[in-house]
């Protein structure tokens, strides 16, 4: 009996488990998945919690709801991977050997990486919204806040869902307007990037949205520390920004297992072939989702497109062929822009987000890089698709490779 082991049962790991369980011969392959948590979080939903649009119950479900009934599931922390021995050591010293390993251990926020960030104001006036705890604490804070300086700061790239910080300030603009107190709130977007977003054309269009919504933009700001007493953030080149409430996107890092196993880069992300998703060091190890060091966005849609490629490549390797399917860096992101509207972007490694219609050229129903109500419905509908199709590995009507059809140069 051969063994396929999946580390991590988040979006990427769960999709791979479902896809592979459907096709691998149960007399030949035993598939095992390991994760330390029993709850699956719909992470894209965290963004809506601070504004009271979603509650905790809207973004959680038991992981077991998404596993095939015959799946071999182990709930445990992972101590170490020993890639040269083809085995994984669990927290309780149990040893799991494998023929093929899929690493899907994701990325986590590390506020400890920035001086003073996890100081006395943490979850009092300084919040993250990339954890359920942070998002809920911020929701409680906003309910009673009377206004002041709201600063959103990105610590450093890469981060999960690079559009989420923009969505946050767009939604804040909408939320405080609807509460009749927008004139009492100064919204300030402070980023280490040279513009509102990572890709030039989208950056300029999204920058215009910030302007239109009266959101102040400070670029090229690399945070060095937080002054908890004076309530300000200070950059490495000693620029200062005052806040009454700081919403931070802390440094994102891969799982510490990678550091313990000597398999990660300086951020604990695993060096991965950007096309085949195979580990650059070990032939029988594959990496998917946020755990990779790929220059693609860290997002569920990306993990979904990768899953289709990786599925084909794993089947090839099992049959003794070389992995030949190639991931193109495809990402597809609905950006909530407030007031019941949204913006959609679709891009890959080589093509930056362009305007046009999606997925049907000239028809849509979604509009790329434009603010429409239909784009917002797309985002709302996505949660339903996520729980009911995506995690279960059922095909969605979107190609894994990006298409130029419908895009305007």
């Amino acid at each position: 009996m051969k063994k396929l082991l999946i580390l991590g049962a988040g979006t990427a790991g769960t999709m791979m488990l479902n896809k592979l369980s459907n096709v691998l011969d149960k007399n030949e392959w035993q598939i095992t998945i390991v994760d330390q948590h029993e709850t699956h979080y719909y992470q894209p939903g965290f963004l809506f919690i601070p504004f009271g649009i979603y509650k905790r119950k809207d973004v959680i479900k038991p992981k077991r709801d998404f596993f095939p009934s015959e799946a071999n599931v182990i709930v445990s922390e992972i101590e170490k991977i020993e890639p040269k021995e083809n085995r994984v050591i669990l927290k309780d010293s149990k040893v799991l050997s494998y023929d093929i390993l899929i690493i899907a251990t994701g990325a986590q926020i590390k506020p400890e990486e920035t001086e003073g960030l996890k100081g006395e104001l943490w979850h009092k006036n300084v919040f993250d919204f990339y954890t359920i705890e942070g998002a809920c604490a911020l929701s409680n804070f906003f309910k009673h806040w009377e206004g002041g300086k709201l600063v959103l700061n990105i610590t450093e790239m890469p981060i999960k869902c690079p559009v989420a910080p923009l969505e946050f300030v767009f939604l804040a603009d909408s939320y405080f307007t609807e509460r009749g107190m927008r004139d009492k709130v100064e919204i300030h977007f402070v980023t280490p990037l040279p513009g509102a977003f990572t890709k030039p054309k989208a950056s300029s269009i999204l920058g215009d949205f910030l302007d239109k919504k009266n959101i102040k933009l400070t670029t090229d700001f690399s945070i060095a520390r937080v002054d908890n007493e004076q309530k300000k953030i200070i950059s490495w080149d000693e620029r200062e920004v005052d806040f009454d409430v700081l919403v931070t996107i802390p440094t994102n890092m891969g799982n510490e297992v990678m550091a313990r196993s000597g398999m990660g880069n300086e951020l604990n992300f695993v060096p991965t072939d950007k096309q085949t998703l195979r580990s650059l060091e070990y032939e029988n190890i594959f990496v998917i989702g946020d755990a990779t060091d790929l220059p693609s966005s860290k997002a569920g849609s990306v993990a979904h497109f990768q899953a289709e490629i990786l599925f084909e490549n794993i089947l090839s390797v099992i049959e003794g062929r070389e992995p030949k399917e190639k991931f193109d860096g495809h990402a597809n992101c609905f950006i909530e822009s407030g007031f019941g509207k949204g913006i959609l972007i679709d891009f890959n490694y080589d093509t930056e987000p362009l305007p046009g219609k999606f997925p049907l050229p000239g028809i849509g129903p979604f509009s790329l890089l434009e603010e429409t109500k239909m784009n917002h419905y797309g985002k709302v509908m996505f949660r339903w698709m996520y729980w009911n199709f995506l995690l279960k590995g059922i095909e969605l009507p979107i190609e894994s490779q990006m298409s130029m059809a419908g895009k305007r140069m």
Binding site: P158, T198, D220, S222, A224, D237, E266, P295, S296, S297
Partner: protein, 105 residues
């Protein structure tokens, strides 16, 4: 493709204004690029960073991120920002004759 003169040498620049061909680089070109970046003099600490970046690029095919720089070059983040004000990774890469770091997504 733009062509510009540095230290008496005509060199090609890429879309970001960085050297298009690494073979065009030499220490005098580096000094001229540094002046353009607002750095009048390349001292030992700056050369340490520049040489580290060139070595990394040689090995990995991409210029290192600031985090990697500080972890491995022995120069901490604060000093990096003093040595290359405004954007250490980007500026040091340009002076080192390398393309802009891919780093961000």
């Amino acid at each position: 493709m733009a062509v510009k003169e540095y230290a008496g040498k005509m060199v090609e620049l890429d879309a970001d204004g960085n050297l298009a061909k690494r073979t065009d680089w030499n220490e005098d070109v580096a000094k001229a690029l540094a002046v353009e970046e607002g750095i009048p003099e390349l001292n030992d600490r700056r050369w340490l960073v520049i040489n580290y970046m060139r070595k990394e690029f040689e090995a990995k095919g991409d210029a290192p991120s600031i985090r990697k720089l500080t972890k491995e070059s022995g120069v901490d983040t604060k000093e990096l920002y003093t040595l290359f004000p405004g954007g250490p990774a980007k500026k040091a890469a340009r002076i080192a004759g390398l393309p802009k770091p891919k780093g961000c997504i």
